[in-house]
């Protein structure tokens, strides 16, 4: 493992190219045999157990499963917030599971957008300050970061709330600010962990519409959720149990005929 970590970059690139040519198309995210274990011997817990996953560019994937099935742990592994015990992880063709801490931190900041259940906004900063923070940390000028943040708030429909503190915003508005922040550095992929877990049904709808518009704009999205409404917006739904992926569904569109009968409009 150590030896591989110290390989020059050129080697890693060529290895990735081989993997990509295996399937003939490139994945935005690719996991192979991804594993996360806690404890040891009798107390060993496999939170994520040999997961293989490919997420295509522009695809929205929802991961559902009972509490404790390992879906949040999987998301943390995919986003480099946590290190796998075994397996490989590639982002846009680059192997990331063996990256050094500094490189990984940079990758998280520049290439991955995170959205959390509890929003995780900075309470003492205004909406626009929260959104511009990642761009500032990435070394952009104050002016460029502010311009980008203003544009993103516009995109999530909160241009008129730019100077509000999070405490003055509703739950749905806070989550939309958090989503704008996740987009600050034009990430390759947005990872969302129960994004509507703290929201009422109206606010859920706001977030839903926003995810739909991101999807239409070609953003790659992975959403871990309990909420069937959010899951139903995905192109592909993955069910997880006991750390493993057990079922995969493509949610292709049906007909309004179905809907009419659901409304009691049988001819």
């Amino acid at each position: 493992m150590r030896a591989e970590l110290d390989q020059p970059e050129g080697h890693i690139v060529s290895e990735t190219e081989t993997i990509m040519s295996d399937t003939g198309r490139s994945s935005m995210l690719r996991a192979r045999g991804l594993r996360k274990e806690y404890g040891k011997e009798a107390g060993l817990v496999r939170a994520v157990d040999a997961v293989d996953l490919d997420v295509a560019p522009g695809e929205t994937v929802a991961v559902m499963g009972p509490s404790g099935c390992g879906k949040s742990t999987l998301l943390h592994l995919l986003g480099g917030l946590d290190r796998p015990s075994a397996g490989e992880l590639h982002l846009a063709g680059q192997r990331i599971d063996q990256m050094g801490e500094k490189a990984l931190a940079r990758l998280r900041r520049d290439a991955i957008g995170f959205v959390f259940q509890a929003f995780h906004l900075m309470d003492e900063l205004t909406a626009v300050e929260n959104v511009e923070l990642p761009a500032l940390l990435a070394g952009n000028s104050t002016r460029a970061a502010r311009r980008r943040a203003a544009g993103l708030l516009e995109r999530v429909g909160l241009a008129d709330r730019a100077r509000f503190l999070p405490s003055a915003l509703s739950g749905g508005q806070r989550q939309r600010v958090a989503i704008a922040r996740a987009l600050a550095n034009e990430p390759l992929v947005v990872l969302a962990d129960e994004p509507t877990g703290n929201l009422d049904s109206e606010a859920t709808l706001e977030v839903l519409r926003l995810f739909e518009s991101l999807h239409e704009a070609g953003q790659t999205l992975v959403i871990v959720t309990h909420d069937s409404r959010i899951a139903a917006t995905a192109d592909r739904l993955i069910s997880m149990r006991d750390g493993a992926l057990v079922d995969e569904t493509r949610l292709a569109g049906g007909t309004t005929g179905h809907l009419s009968s659901l409304a009691g409009l049988d001819a």
Binding site: P66, S228, A252, G253, L262, A263, L265
Partner: protein
């Protein structure tokens, strides 16, 4: 088409057939697309026969069902009033699915969890359709409210499927 629905559409004022159709389209939005255009006229003809509506041929207009002027009779008005106060609600058929799971498990014919998964896939596809249709509606549209009802019912069914899954998973573990 249920007779009372057509009667109630007429309660506002005497109307031409095409106006009734427009009201129905407005209320149902995309859900009305699947409806047969002739259905409402079949219903109107029946209502006329049973004396609940009158149909008058308007002067200067072609003698076609969509150009006739329809109006409620006193009996028709009474029927509408009775229908509005009637409490009815469609019964969801949960027992059949439940018994499918019970039978599959008892006879070891199929894995109940697999049946739940298949059902969930189907409901999620419908939820996706309903949700997309709902989001395409302008705010506070009549059709949007109906679609919201479909979305909420599907969510309730999906929540029940989660309970089914938990229950059958734990049974499998103990048996």
């Amino acid at each position: 088409m249920q007779q009372e629905v057509v009667l109630a559409l007429l309660a506002k004022e005497p109307s031409h057939g095409y106006q009734l159709r427009a009201r129905l389209q407005q209320a149902l939005g995309p859900l009305g697309d699947a409806m047969n255009a002739g259905q409402i006229y079949v219903t109107l003809a029946r209502l006329e026969k049973s004396g609940l509506v009158t149909a008058e041929h308007s002067a200067g207009l072609p003698d076609r069902p969509d150009r006739k002027m329809y109006a409620l009779t006193a009996a028709g008005q009474q029927r509408v009033a009775g229908w509005l106060t009637e409490v009815s609600w469609p019964r969801p058929d949960l027992a059949e699915f439940h018994l499918k799971l019970v039978a599959a498990a008892a006879a070891r014919l199929a894995d109940p969890i697999a049946i739940v998964d298949a059902q969930r896939r189907e409901l999620l596809r419908r939820l996706r359709d309903a949700q997309r249709a709902a989001m395409a509606e302008p705010d506070r549209s009549d059709a949007g409210l109906l679609l919201e009802g479909i979305v909420l019912r599907l969510q309730a069914d999906l929540t029940w499927l989660e309970a089914c899954e938990r229950n059958w998973t734990s049974r499998k573990g103990t048996s």
